[in-house]
């Protein structure tokens, strides 16, 4: 895995993080192309299954980005998402994937800078960690 470029999946709430991504764009802030954004109607709509499937398909990192605490458009979707992320982290440990590869973050629609910063930090963190063990096993299987 020379020149490792991590694949990061970001589930972004339409009302905050996704809009913040737009904001980052209009502010001409760049963020790593490693981050693949999936727009969701609310961070609370992200299911454990979506995260687990992302890792199964070879994602090296995943994060769920919801609204700031108390600001969820649907009342408490972001706090539900945070509990779900904590639950999936434990399952990842059981599977043998470092739970640090999964994160829950919050931001408001106006925080274009924070969106770019989170995307960069997550990409750099995962780059340092190297490929996920599943990604590595898939690559070895293909090479064999």
């Amino acid at each position: 895995m020379d020149n490792f470029e991590p694949v990061i999946v970001a589930f972004c709430c339409h009302y905050c993080a996704y809009t913040a991504a737009d904001m980052a764009g209009s502010q001409r802030l760049s963020y790593p192309p490693n981050v693949k954004v999936v727009r969701v109607p609310c961070s609370g709509k992200v299911d454990a299954m979506h995260i687990v499937k992302a890792f199964e398909k070879g994602a090296d990192g995943v994060y769920v980005a919801g609204c700031l605490e108390g600001d969820c458009h649907f009342k408490n979707g972001n706090s539900k998402a945070a509990r779900m992320v904590a639950y999936v982290s434990k399952y990842m440990e059981e599977i043998g994937i470092e739970p640090e590869r999964l994160a829950m973050v919050t931001m408001s629609a106006g925080m274009g800078y924070r969106f770019a910063q989170v995307a960069t930090e997550m990409t750099e963190k995962i780059r340092r960690m190297g490929p996920s063990p599943i990604h590595a096993a898939i690559a070895t299987g293909k090479a064999a």
Partner: protein, 222 residues
């Protein structure tokens, strides 16, 4: 409902390690409601098992199927077209479902993915608590609708014991004393005389002490 929890992944991996093709069978009833063995948990476990094995340099093909109800032979029959294509079955139903599948497919190893826990009710979102132990001779009519068998740590027929403190059971402050609840409820109903009456020792033959139990409805039985 019957409640259950998934076993640790490590234990499940040990069961299936020798096999190449697995059928993972969920159940749409109680275990779906308590988020242990419905279609979604089947999907999550299938992914988890495959990833854990892939990581260990092995692989397994997992076929997923969730039955309407796993404790009824009519539904278990649905697995017939799939069974020849797999080496083993893992059930995400309660112990009743696991045994129904094992009974139907005698030449396939069948493993439980869950630990079946108790008959309970949902206290609030995501929390289930024991309510009934199926004693076969329900006392709730005398105890204000609160079960001293399932909810009193000592299964006292005439409680409380000396350990009851401030409404809590002596086994822990997070456990309500069933007999304190019973007393409060009987008082609210004006039925204190129920409490004064001494309940004789329970005949456990109806509660499993007489061996495995069976119900036969003659009008329905074929």
């Amino acid at each position: 409902m019957i409640t259950a929890e998934r076993k640790p992944l490590e234990e499940l991996i040990d069961y299936i390690r020798p096999f190449r093709r697995l059928l993972l069978v969920g159940c749409n009833e109680c275990v779906t409601v308590c988020a242990a063995g419905g279609r979604k948990e089947v999907g999550l476990l299938a992914s988890g098992l495959q990833m854990a094995l892939l990581k260990a340099g092995a692989s397994i093909e997992v076929r997923e199927h969730t039955l309407e109800r796993q404790c009824d032979p009519e539904y278990v029959e649905e697995l017939v077209p799939m069974i020849d294509g797999v080496d083993a079955v893992m059930s995400m139903a309660c112990g009743c479902g696991v045994q129904e599948v094992a009974r139907r497919f005698k030449d396939k190893p069948v493993f439980p993915a869950l630990n079946t826990k108790f008959m309970g009710a949902s206290e609030r979102q995501g929390v289930w608590a024991e309510r009934c132990q199926g004693c076969g001779d329900c006392l709730l009519g005398k105890t204000g609708g609160i079960c001293p068998i399932a909810r009193c740590a000592k299964q006292l027929m005439n409680g409380p014991c000396g350990g009851s403190t401030g409404g809590h059971c002596e086994i822990g402050d997070d456990v309500d004393c069933a007999w304190a609840l019973i007393w409060e409820r009987l008082k609210a109903l004006g039925l204190q005389e129920n409490y004064v009456e001494i309940t004789p020792a329970k005949d456990w033959r109806s509660g499993g002490g007489g061996g495995p139990r069976k119900i036969i409805r003659e009008d329905l039985a074929e």
